[in-house]
């Protein structure tokens, strides 16, 4: 009971932090006292001060305003990726596990092909072929991440195929759609959700990585990875640009990982009980 309570508290804490992040990303517009894109050359390379809490960049733009502006790109593109891979992977995986036979074989062989490559290298290659842009970055990460869900959903479904209540459902005359949606999906969902929550952080990092390499966000998007890539030229003269963007990335990834962890703990303790 104590364990469960503890994980519940953690879940609430991480949800509150997440809420704060969303408020900052969505409502942050109101705090923007400076234009995030318009250069103000007279104020270039200002150190953090009251007027510019995180300082200004090489073109005199407020680093704080740009981080707020870029947070939406970073957070929502990652959520979008996870939503797509979660849906596609789960559907394909459960379908494969449920159908069995040749279909299972084909789908699983396809995932094997995708998994044969180091994942980030594959994402870089696909983004490189598709060209720059957040959308292309999202697509390339989807291509890399969906296999996890597909494999997990399939193995969970296979393990469910022979359990007694499944047999009972069949005997009672439940149709295939009913079995799939009423018995299999609800049972595989918790593990997949935890994986999804844990993946958000790593997708955000991968997206920033792609942008850092010049393959994700295009100008003038203030995506964190892209900003850090430009700011590395000023590592010695204006370190605040890269440092604050790095901290923002760190905080967001930590919050999402915290959420994923507490969600997993909660489900684990529930399963134990």
């Amino acid at each position: 009971m104590d364990k469960k309570r503890k994980s519940r508290i953690w879940l609430i804490v991480s949800l509150i932090l997440l809420l704060l992040l969303f408020v900052a990303a969505f409502g942050g517009e109101k705090w923007l006292h400076h234009a995030p894109f318009k250069p103000d050359m007279r104020h270039a390379f200002q150190k953090p001060c009251l007027e510019y809490p995180f300082g200004t960049d090489n073109l005199g733009r407020c680093v704080f305003c740009r981080i707020i502006k870029g947070s939406r790109t970073s957070i929502f593109s990652a959520l979008f990726v996870v939503l797509i891979v979660f849906t596609v992977g789960t559907l394909l995986g459960t379908a494969a596990g449920f159908a069995g036979g040749i279909w299972e074989n084909i789908i699983m062989k396809i995932t094997l092909i995708f998994q044969a490559f180091p994942s980030f290298i594959l994402a870089v290659a696909i983004a490189g072929i598709l060209g720059n842009g957040v959308i292309n970055g999202v697509l390339s990460l989807c291509a890399v991440y969906w296999t996890t869900y597909c494999r997990l959903a399939r193995s969970l479904t296979v393990s469910l195929r022979e359990v007694p209540y499944m047999k009972a459902a069949k005997v009672c005359g439940a149709g295939k759609p009913a079995i799939l949606f009423r018995y299999i999906l609800p049972n595989v969902m918790p593990s997949l959700l935890v994986t999804a929550a844990l993946d958000v952080g790593s997708v955000i990092l991968s997206m920033a990585g792609l942008s850092f390499l010049g393959l994700g966000a295009v100008r003038p998007t203030a995506e964190w990875g892209a900003v850090m890539s430009e700011a590395k030229d000023y590592l010695q003269t204006a370190p605040w640009i890269i440092v604050f963007n790095g901290i923002a990335l760190f905080v967001v990834v930590t919050v999402f990982n915290l959420l994923g962890d507490s969600l997993r703990d909660l489900l684990d303790t529930e399963a134990e009980m």
Partner: protein
Amino acid sequence: MKRKAAVIMCAAMIAAMPMSSVNAAESGKHFTAGATTGFFGAESLDVAYNWDGWIMSIYGISENLFRLDASYVPQPWIAESYENVDDLTWKFTIRDGVTFSDGNPVTAEAVKKCFERTYANNDRAGSTLAIASMEADGQVLTIVTETPNPTILNDLCDPLLGIYDAEKEADPELGVSCTGPFVATSFSAMTEVQMEKNENYWGGTPKVDTVDLKIIDDTEALNMALQNGEIDLIAQLPASGTKIFENNEAVTMDSATSTRANFLMYNLEHAGVDDVNVRNAIGMCIDRESFADIVYNGYATASYGIYPETLPYGSTEGMENAVTAYDPEGAAALLKEAGYEDTDQDGILDKDGEPLSIHAITYSYNTECLQLADMMQAELAEIGIDMQIETFDVLDDSLTNGAFDMAILNYAMAPTGSAQYMISMMFETNGSNNYGHYSNATVDELSEKLKATFDEKERSDIAKQVCAELLKDRAFDFVADQQLICAYSKKVSGFEINPSEYYLMTNEIDIEE
């Protein structure tokens, strides 16, 4: 898996260690310099291949008949003297006692053979200097040009016409034998060249024994390499590095006014930018002073003309010029006057139903050009022009295919000191780099006239007339003229910066051990 990768990396590092330490431990003085691909990147060590002659001249491997001095005036180098026999005929006396690094003497015959090979292998040679015939007699080389050529001495400074031993087959790795103070001992394309001094150098034995020139494209890594003593000199220091070295006691920073400029080239075949009012309005939205003072940290000068003001034909005095200051309000008014209005309220101006949207391209590795693009994108958005930026490692394809409305470029405007160079290359209707399809009959006419004019004063006047036409049309918009900056350790002596980007390594460079 990770552990395996780490083991392989460690093994590679250990394997690489003895190599680098052997180099450093070699007896004698060792000099190391770094630069980005733009300055040090050669594909081969063959003077005649592509632009490699330019890089080999920087390396101190190849030399020309003439050399540009600090004021862009050609001075005798491998050629000792010359005589202009008539409009078409020039006689050059090759310096006695000059040998190639392989020991063969440099004779008029050798120079002739060298030019013949270069002209056969590189198309650019013919447009640099059109030669009708050559004749060699002992040390005297007679060149007959196709048309009267007042800039032949400048043209002979182009490193493409560097002197090498054409008798000998070029080595697949180490290329051709030249006359410079250094000889390559190992070369890997676009990465690194290692050299040793040319013991037989005609101008006096070089003061350093071995030289290592490295390409380091990450500007911060380049700066740090000089800071931690890994390299002794940075050639063509990116502007962001100037702040780091300004207050560094162990480093000297030299700059020279080069002719390198940041400019915009418009594709006149594309709607929107084909309107001179739009081009003028864009020009008014560029804060050139801030760009020069802040992005370049003062190592550039704002430009409202065509050529740098330091050149005799650089002044724009008395010329009609629509853009003389940063004036975004004026730009907005100009567009309104020209009939551009935001009829659909989407924040982007339109005319005849066509939104004013510009596709701009620039180099992905040139941080100054990228910052100019960022500045312009935000400024133009304010007055209702949508600007999309696309960046490339190599721009050639997009430029040749016309896949741009506006290109943000960075060129040396007069690398040989002659105005003709860029007029023929970019401003003439059929110029090889006139990717925007600019065509002005007056410019073409003036260019032909310039080619046949020998008098310096008259040549400057013609060049100025070309500039006046260009300013009126604004198919090219010059933003800033940058300086060539080199930063080097206080241990280095004898280094002299030359505003032309053709030269770097000389026999005079020395280093304290």
